[in-house]
Symmetry: C2
Subunit: 196 residues, 2 copies
C-alpha cells in the first residue's frame, strides 16, 4: 500500500522520467519522513554517510567554512532535492554543511540506496543521469554569471525570473554571500540602485 506522504516526491521524480509502479516500488521501501527543527543540520561538514532529501516544507541553505567564516553558496526550497551531492557521488566527507533555515519537513533516503538502483534498473540510472545533467546546467549558468557579470548585475539577476524566492525569503546577509560579496557591499549596491 503506497504511502500518500511520499507522493510529492514521486511527482517530482516524474518530471524527469516516466515512472511506473514497479520502478517506484524499488525506491519506496528506502524512504522515510524526517523533520528538522530550525537551525539544525541536515548534513554536517566531515560527514561521509550521505542522505538525500526532498523538501516538503521549509527552506535550507548550504555553506562552506573558511577561516571560521561561513560562506553560504546555495538555498533550497520546498519541492526540490537537498544533498551534499558532490560528497555523495565521490563518497568523500562533505565539505559543506546544510542547515535548516526554518522548521523543515523532508522525505529522505540514503544515497547508497539510489546507487543500488542504478545497478539494477536502467530507468533509475537514467534518473541519475538527468539529475546530474540538471545540476550541471545550473552550475554552468551560475559560473558564467560569476565570471561575466558584476556583483550589481548579479543582484539584478536575482530580482526577476525564478530566483525571486531568494530575494523574498532569504535574509540579506546570506544573499550577499551567495553573490560572492559582503553584506555591506550588497547594502550599498541596493542604495545605489534606489537612487535611479
Amino acid at each position: 500500500m503506497p504511502d500518500p506522504v511520499f507522493l510529492p516526491l514521486r511527482n517530482a521524480i516524474s518530471r524527469f522520467i516516466k515512472l511506473n509502479d514497479a520502478d517506484w516500488q524499488l525506491l519506496e521501501p528506502s524512504l522515510r519522513e524526517k523533520k528538522l527543527p530550525k537551525q539544525s543540520h541536515f548534513i554536517t561538514e566531515g560527514k561521509v554517510e550521505q542522505e538525500v532529501g526532498f523538501l516538503l516544507d521549509g527552506n535550507m541553505r548550504h555553506y562552506y567554512t573558511r577561516d571560521g567564516e561561513e560562506k553560504t553558496t546555495y538555498f533550497y526550497f520546498e519541492g526540490h532535492f537537498v544533498s551534499s551531492y558532490l560528497s555523495a557521488i565521490t563518497n568523500t566527507p562533505s565539505e559543506l554543511t546544510i542547515e535548516a533555515m526554518t522548521d523543515c519537513r523532508l522525505i529522505v533516503f540514503h544515497y547508497k540506496d539510489l546507487q543500488k538502483l542504478y545497478d539494477v534498473s536502467h530507468t533509475w540510472e537514467r534518473f541519475g543521469r538527468l539529475i546530474a545533467e540538471y545540476l550541471a546546467i545550473g552550475l554552468e549558468q551560475r559560473m558564467v554569471g560569476l565570471l561575466m557579470l558584476s556583483p550589481e548585475e548579479r543582484y539584478l539577476d536575482l530580482l526577476d525570473g525564478n530566483k525571486q524566492k531568494i530575494i523574498e525569503r532569504i535574509p540579506q546577509h546570506y544573499v550577499s554571500s551567495y553573490l560572492g560579496i559582503t553584506p555591506v557591499s550588497l547594502s550599498r549596491i541596493r542604495a545605489r540602485l534606489l537612487k535611479k
Copy 2:
C-alpha cells in the same frame, strides 16, 4: 575490424565504465576522425546540431561573447572531451564558441548518436550519468573558487596540481579571462607576487 585510430577514445571511456566489445561496437560506427586547423571553430555560437569531440592532439578554448567581447571560460587539452555540453543536453543553440588554439586532431560523433545509445543500452546510460557527474564536480569546484577566493588566490591555485597545463600552455590574456579578471590585472598580480 576495429580501427586503431579510435583506441584512445575507447581507453578514455573505459576510465568511466567497463566496456565490452559489443558495447563499443554500438558507438564505433558513429565515429569519425576530424582535423581542425588553428583558429577554426569546432562549435559556433548559435549552432544547434551538436557534435562531441575527443581531443587527440592540440588544445582548444571556449568562450562566451558579451558586448562584442570574448570571455574565455574553459580550456580543453588532449585526452579530454570537447563539447558545448549544455547546448547538447538541452538541445538549444549553443551560447558559446569552441575554437582550436592550435591545429587539432579529434575523434568526433554526433551527440544524438550517443543519446540513442542511452535508450538501448544501460551501460551507455551509465556512461552518460558518470560524465555528467564528472562535469558537475568540476563546475562545483570552480564555482566555489570563484565565490570564496580572491583573484590572486585563484591564480595561485592554477600554479599547482593538475591545472599547471593552463599556465604553461595558455596565453596570459586568456588565463585572465578564465580567472574572471582583465589581462592588466593579472599582470599586476604576477608582479605583486614576484616581489615576495
